[in-house]
Amino acid sequence: MTDAAMSRQASAKSGGRMKTHGKLIDLCIDVFLFGFSLLMILPLVFLVSNAFKTPQEMLSWPPRIIPSDPTLENFRSVLADTPLPRWIFNSIAFASLSMVAIVATSAIAGYVLAKFRFRSLNIIFILILATAIVPFEVYMIPLYFQAQMLGILNSIWGLLLGYLVMSFGIFLIRQNVMHSIPDELLEAARIDGAGELWIFWRIVLPLLRGALGALAVLAFFQAWTSFAWPMIVTTTRESYTIEVGLALFQTGFTVDLGRLSAASAAVLVPSITLFVILRRNFVQGVASTGLKE
C-alpha cells in the first residue's frame, strides 16, 4: 500500500471516529432535551388528567396519569355552575382587541419614530421608553379611577384601557423598520408618486409582516394571561376574564381541584389552537425580543 493510500485510510478512520463522537453528543443532547420537555409538559398532562378524575382519585397516592374511573362530572359542574363560556369570550374579545390596538399603535408609532426626522420625536421616543420601566402596579390605581370616571368598569372597554399601547412593541417595530426598510425604498415610492399613507399601507406594513405577527402573538398572550388589571376592573361574575374566573375556584381555605382542572383544560383549547396556528410568529417573537412575559 502506498503512503498516500495509508494516509487516506488513516484520515478516513479518524474522520469516522469523529463522526461517531459527534453522533453520540447529538444523541445525549436529544435525550436531555426530551427528558426536559417531558418535565415541562408533565404539569399540563396532569392538569388534563385531573379534569377527568373523581375527588377521591385525585387525592390518591401515587397519582395516575390515566384515570382509573374517568368522569365528565367536573366539566358538567363547571359549565352548569359558572359562566365559563362567557369568561372565555371575554378573554378572547379582550385579548383580540388589545392585540389589534397594540399592533396598530406600535406600527404607526414605530414607523414614524424610525423614519421621520424631527428633534421632538427623539424626546417622545425617550418618554415612551421610560414608560417601559414603570411597573404596571404603580399606575394601576390611577388607571382604575380613570376607568371609573369613564364609566367603563365591568366591560371589555375597561379591560382594554390599560392594554391599548405597548411601549416595548413601539420599540420593537421602530428597530425593525430601521433595520429592514431602507430609506431609498420610501424615497423611490415618493418619487413614483405615492403619498405617505399609501407608502405606510402598501410598502411599510407588508414588509413588517413578520415583526407585526410576532408582536401580535406577544400582545395577545399578554392580555390573555393578565390577571391584576382584570381583577380590579371587573367586579361582576359576567364580566370576568378566564384568569379571574379560574381564581374563583380557589378560596381562602380550599382549592376545588377537580373543577379548577376541568375549567383550565377547557381554557387550554383556544390557547393551544392559537399557538399552533401562530407557532412560527411566536417563536420569532420570543427570538427577536429575547424575553417573554
Binding site: 431602507p182 431609498e184 425604498l185 424615497e187 415610492a189 415618493r190 418619487i191 413614483d192 414588509l207
Partner: protein, 353 residues
C-alpha cells in the same frame, strides 16, 4: 425631455455648508455625469434635484420651471438608486408598473407599457418573479425599467452600478449608453468612478468639497484639466504631478537632481510650478536620451507595462505600450512628450499652460 438648470445652489445643515453655490446647465437630452470623491456633495445635489433634500439657496429648474418647492412626485423625474430600491414584496411586473398604477392608468395600458420596457431590457421572462429571485444585474435592470416605464423628463442615477461586479459593470455601462441613445432622455448620473464618467458622459461635472471644479466634455477634461485636482482625478492611472521650478528657457521644468522635463507653449509665470504628465505620454528610451529614473516596480499586463519609478524624491509612473525588459532597481531613461505636458501653479494648483 427637458433641460435642467442649476443656478447657485446651496445646501446647509445648520452652520455646515455642504454645497457651496453650484451652477450646472444640463441641456435637453444630454447625459451629464457628476463625479467626485466621497463627500464632495454630488449625491446631495442629485437628491436636491429629485426633491429628497431641501434646497437652502439658489434655484433648480426643469424644463424652465423652477421646482425648488415642488414635491418629488410632481417633478416628472425618475431615479435609480445604488441599492436598486425594489419593493421586495412585489413582483417585477408590479415593481415596474408601480408608478403607472399610482397614476391610475388603465390596467391594460400599464401591462402593455411594462411588457414593452421589459422587452427592451431583456426582462420579459422574469415579470412574475420577485426581486430576491433575480441576480444583481437583473435587479439593476428592473430598477432602470421602473424609471423608464414612466417616460419621465429627466432620469437621475445615483451610483447605480456600484453594487455590481467589474464585468457586469462594464456590460451595464454599455446597456445604459444604449438606452440613452434610444430614448434620448435627459440624464444626470452620479458616480465616484471616473472611468464610468469618461465612458458614458456627454459632459462631466467634477466636484470637490461642495463646489464644481470643472465642467466639460470627457476628453476636454482629460486633455486640459483646469487644476491639479481634476488632473489627478480624471484618468487612470492618474496624471504624474511633479514639483519643480520653471527653467530660464521657459521651455522646461527642473524637477530635482538637475533633471529637466520639457513642455511646449509659453506660460506667464516663473518660479515654482507643478509639472503634469500622463503616464502614457512618457516613453522608455535607450541611452542617455530623456531623463533618468530608478524603477521601483514593474507591472506587465500583457498589452502594456506599468513602470513605477523615482526621480530623486518624487514618484513617477509610466505606461509603456509594449513588453519591456526592465526590472525593479534598474536605472531607466524616460522621455516626456512636451506637447502633452501640463503646467500648474504650485500654490493654487491652477492650470498655467
Amino acid at each position: 425631455m427637458a433641460s435642467v438648470d442649476i443656478q447657485d445652489v446651496r445646501k446647509s445643515y445648520g452652520q455646515l455648508e455642504t454645497i457651496k453655490g453650484v451652477s450646472v446647465d444640463v441641456p435637453d437630452g444630454a447625459f451629464v455625469v457628476l463625479v467626485g470623491p466621497s463627500g464632495c456633495g454630488k449625491s446631495t445635489l442629485l437628491r436636491m434635484i429629485a426633491g429628497l433634500e431641501d434646497i437652502s439657496g439658489g434655484t433648480i429648474s426643469i424644463g424652465g420651471r423652477v421646482i425648488n418647492d415642488v414635491e418629488p412626485k410632481h417633478r416628472d423625474i425618475a431615479m435609480v438608486f445604488q441599492n436598486y430600491a425594489l419593493y421586495p414584496h412585489m413582483t417585477i411586473a408590479e415593481n415596474m408598473g408601480f408608478s403607472l398604477r399610482l397614476a391610475r392608468r388603465p390596467k391594460d395600458e400599464v401591462d402593455k407599457r411594462v411588457r414593452e420596457v421589459a422587452a427592451i431590457l431583456g426582462l420579459a421572462d422574469y415579470l412574475d418573479r420577485y426581486p430576491r429571485q433575480l441576480s444583481g444585474g437583473q435587479r439593476q435592470r428592473v430598477a432602470m425599467g421602473r424609471a423608464i416605464v414612466r417616460s419621465p423628463q429627466v432620469f437621475l442615477f445615483d451610483e447605480p452600478l456600484s453594487n455590481l461586479d467589474a464585468k457586469l459593470r462594464v456590460q451595464m455601462r454599455a446597456e445604459l449608453k444604449d438606452i440613452h441613445a434610444r430614448l434620448k432622455t435627459t440624464t444626470i448620473y452620479v458616480t465616484h468612478d471616473q472611468i464610468e464618467a469618461m465612458t458614458m458622459a456627454d459632459r462631466i461635472v467634477v466636484m470637490r468639497d461642495g463646489i464644481v471644479e470643472q465642467v466639460g466634455a470627457p476628453l476636454d477634461l482629460y486633455d486640459r484639466p483646469n487644476n491639479t485636482f481634476v488632473a489627478s482625478f480624471i484618468g487612470s492611472p492618474a496624471m504624474n504631478l511633479l514639483d519643480g521650478a520653471l527653467c530660464e528657457d521657459m521651455r522646461s521644468v527642473s524637477v530635482g537632481n538637475g533633471m529637466r522635463l520639457p513642455f511646449a507653449g509659453s506660460v506667464p509665470a516663473s518660479g515654482r510650478v507643478t509639472y503634469g504628465i500622463r503616464p502614457e505620454h512618457l516613453h522608455l528610451v535607450q541611452g542617455t536620451d530623456g531623463f533618468e529614473a530608478v524603477a521601483t516596480s514593474v507591472e506587465p499586463t500583457g498589452s502594456e507595462t506599468f513602470i513605477q519609478a523615482r526621480i530623486g524624491e518624487q514618484a513617477i509612473a509610466a505606461q509603456i505600450r509594449d513588453r519591456v525588459a526592465v526590472r525593479t532597481g534598474d536605472v531607466i531613461h524616460l522621455r516626456a512628450m512636451a506637447d502633452k505636458a501640463h503646467l500648474f501653479d504650485a500654490e493654487t494648483g491652477r492650470r498655467l499652460g
